[in-house]
């Protein structure tokens, strides 16, 4: 088996290089053990991580400041300047919990629809030979190339005018079902599985549906998790579409409520940045927490491990 499985190794990383017997396929760099290179790599990663995490950290610090302090010392929490008043300020104008719930329903609906459509289409594109497959694949690629944003006018006409789905969850969700990223992920994944697996099942007399359900899907945990992660992030982050079709505050996902707060209401707040950042923190935390929970699964399973099983 050629697929390596770095992820499966001890997360501490230190023991990986030396014991080639347990991880025969670890990258050569680790075995080489060039100390200098590893230090350089470590420092690069550390610098990168600080750059990447700082705004996130700064968001939380800013959210808890009573008086906004944009100086360098303001980047460090000052106990005398800490408050939860910003959270109250924004919660007074935006129903944070209700908006979060809307975000969750919107995101959940998209994930469900994407997974069902994606697994079926991905499998058929990767492993089944049928007339029109190239056409379907081409059409799917087209959606990757042409983002739905470029279709926002006709979609708006359709969803709002023709179907009357303004201010509904369904109206928010359905345009995202076309997103081909999940289809693409599953297709790539199923293609990467050895053909022998499928051939063997077929010889055993399994139907394609059974192969999909019993062979392909059980092996595709990592792909499913990737697809969930990717399709989670899309709608959770999405601003434009729900912004266009939800005008009723009670239907708006948090990203939309917060953006409206930033553009219209914040000007009248006592500490506008503080209130915005408090809202931003509420929007950011669930996504990060869910992601970190998923991250563990990513570490435990990987493509290589599935193949060996």
């Amino acid at each position: 088996m050629s697929a390596t499985s770095v992820n499966r190794s001890d997360p501490s990383g230190e023991t990986v290089g030396g014991t080639a017997a347990t991880t025969p396929n670890a990258p050569s760099a680790t075995r080489e053990g060039s100390r200098l290179r590893r230090v350089a790599g470590f420092l690069a990663l550390l610098a990168g991580a600080i750059v990447f995490l700082f705004p996130f950290y700064y968001m939380i610090v800013g959210a808890m400041q009573r008086e906004p302090d944009p100086t360098v010392s303001g980047a460090f929490p000052d106990p005398s300047n800490l408050t939860l008043a910003n959270l109250e300020a924004i919660n007074g104008r935006v129903d944070l919990l209700g908006s979060l719930l809307n975000s969750a329903i919107f995101t959940g609906g998209v994930i469900l629809l994407t997974l069902v459509l994606g697994l079926l289409a991905g499998y058929s594109l990767a492993r089944l030979e049928f007339r029109g497959r190239a056409l379907v694949f081409g059409g799917m690629l087209l959606t990757l190339i042409l983002p739905f944003q470029l279709l926002l006018i006709p979609l708006y006409v359709m969803i709002v005018r023709t179907y009357g789905l303004a201010d509904t969850y369904l109206g928010m969700i359905v345009p995202f079902a076309v997103n081909a990223t999940a289809v693409f992920i599953f297709r790539q994944f199923f293609r990467s599985l050895p053909a022998e697996l499928f051939d063997a099942a077929r010889i055993d007399g399994a139907s394609e549906l059974q192969i999909l359900m019993r062979v392909a899907i059980p092996m595709s945990k990592p792909a499913i998790l990737t697809a969930v992660l990717v399709s989670f992030i899309g709608p959770w982050n999405e601003f434009l579409w729900p912004f266009l079709i939800t005008k009723e505050a009670a239907m708006q996902p948090l990203a939309v409520s917060l953006a409206n707060y930033i553009t219209t209401v914040a000007a009248s707040a006592a500490n506008p940045f503080g209130a915005i950042l408090a809202g931003a923190t509420v929007l950011a935390i669930p996504a990060v927490v869910i992601f970190l929970a998923f991250q563990r699964y990513f570490l435990q399973t990987d493509i290589g491990a599935s193949l060996k099983g």
Partner: protein, 309 residues
């Protein structure tokens, strides 16, 4: 070896197989996706063209309104509108900054993450944090960081541009491109990481036997090894460039200053939804769709050149 695509054995097939393919059930599997695709992608695309030939605006249900056919008027207007030109230029600026930065940084970081280093898991999570956090939330932080009295300016001191970053017609677009790069990079690191793990170890061994150093191995084995991932990264990063909306809408207050950071999608929103010129906005969308498809095709050719089919 198992990951290499297997060539299908050519065989003489019965008529039904030639007509429907070897596994016609595949069409059934793909059907749900295809239906959504037709309803929410193909149909709106057609509708966009129809709308773009009319003086179309949004009327109340039941209202008798005229939406005269205006031929190519909307297109002529779009092609001669300086704001459309500016939006196109901004897409170019965005891609020019975002794509090279993304490819280089993502590959380097992924390569570093693929070696056994302490705290690797933590680093990897750090890079994903901006990616999983909603743009609207992160924009809140950047607004604060880059405002005229913000942290960046207090660090920059005399080097701070005047007017400040987000209202500076030179800096507004680069800041948006940097924001998008920073925001998305974690996803591309993930793509590269997966690709790196599929490079057969034997290739590195062979290169080492040939006496290749670290840099040579990176260039001779790693870079070509992740070529298909690079294609994907380049195309996806380009597409982000064609559809960014949240950043100019929120970060630079509606494409400011003076349209310096206007994006095509923001323009479509302003013209179509805010000002009710849906026909004109649809025409802009169609022009951009054609443009994006063209660019993507060129890219594919260019990036995949020399790659075995």
């Amino acid at each position: 070896m198992s990951a290499t695509p297997r060539a299908e054995a050519p065989a003489r097939a019965p008529v039904t197989r030639r007509l429907l393919g070897r596994q016609p059930i595949g069409a059934l599997f793909a059907a749900p996706y295809v239906l959504f695709w037709l309803a929410l992608f193909a149909w709106p695309m057609g509708l966009a063209v129809v709308i773009s030939f009319r003086d179309y605006f949004f009327a109340a249900p039941g209202a008798q309104v005229e939406r005269p056919f205006v031929g190519l008027d909307n297109y002529a207007q779009a092609l001669s509108d300086p704001v459309v030109h500016r939006a196109a230029l901004n897409v170019a600026i965005f891609i020019l900054i975002n794509v090279p930065l993304t490819v280089v940084l993502a590959l380097v970081l992924a390569a570093a993450l693929n070696t056994a280093l302490p705290l690797r898991t933590m680093f990897r999570s750090a890079y994903y944090v901006p990616y999983v956090t909603a743009s609207v939330a992160m924009v809140g932080v950047w607004l604060w960081l880059f405002s005229s009295g913000g942290l960046v300016n207090s660090l920059a001191g005399g080097l701070a541009p005047d007017p400040s970053w987000l209202v500076n017609s030179f800096w507004a677009m680069p800041i948006i491109a940097l924001f998008a790069t920073w925001k998305q990079l974690g996803f591309y690191v993930l793509l590269y990481l997966a690709a790196l793990q599929n490079i057969p170890e034997t290739l590195y061994e062979a290169a080492k036997v040939d006496g290749a150093g670290v840099v040579r191995r990176f260039r001779a084995v790693t870079v070509p090894g992740v070529r298909s991932a690079t294609t994907l990264v380049v195309i996806l990063a380009t597409i982000v460039g064609a559809n960014f909306f949240t950043e100019p809408y929120l970060l630079t207050g509606g494409g400011g200053p003076n349209q310096a950071s206007i994006s095509p999608v923001l323009l479509m929103y302003q013209e179509g939804i805010q000002q009710g010129e849906a026909g004109y906005a649809a025409a802009i969308g169609v022009v951009l769709a054609v443009f994006v498809m063209g660019v993507s095709l060129v890219y594919r050719r260019f990036v995949e050149e020399g790659e075995p089919a």
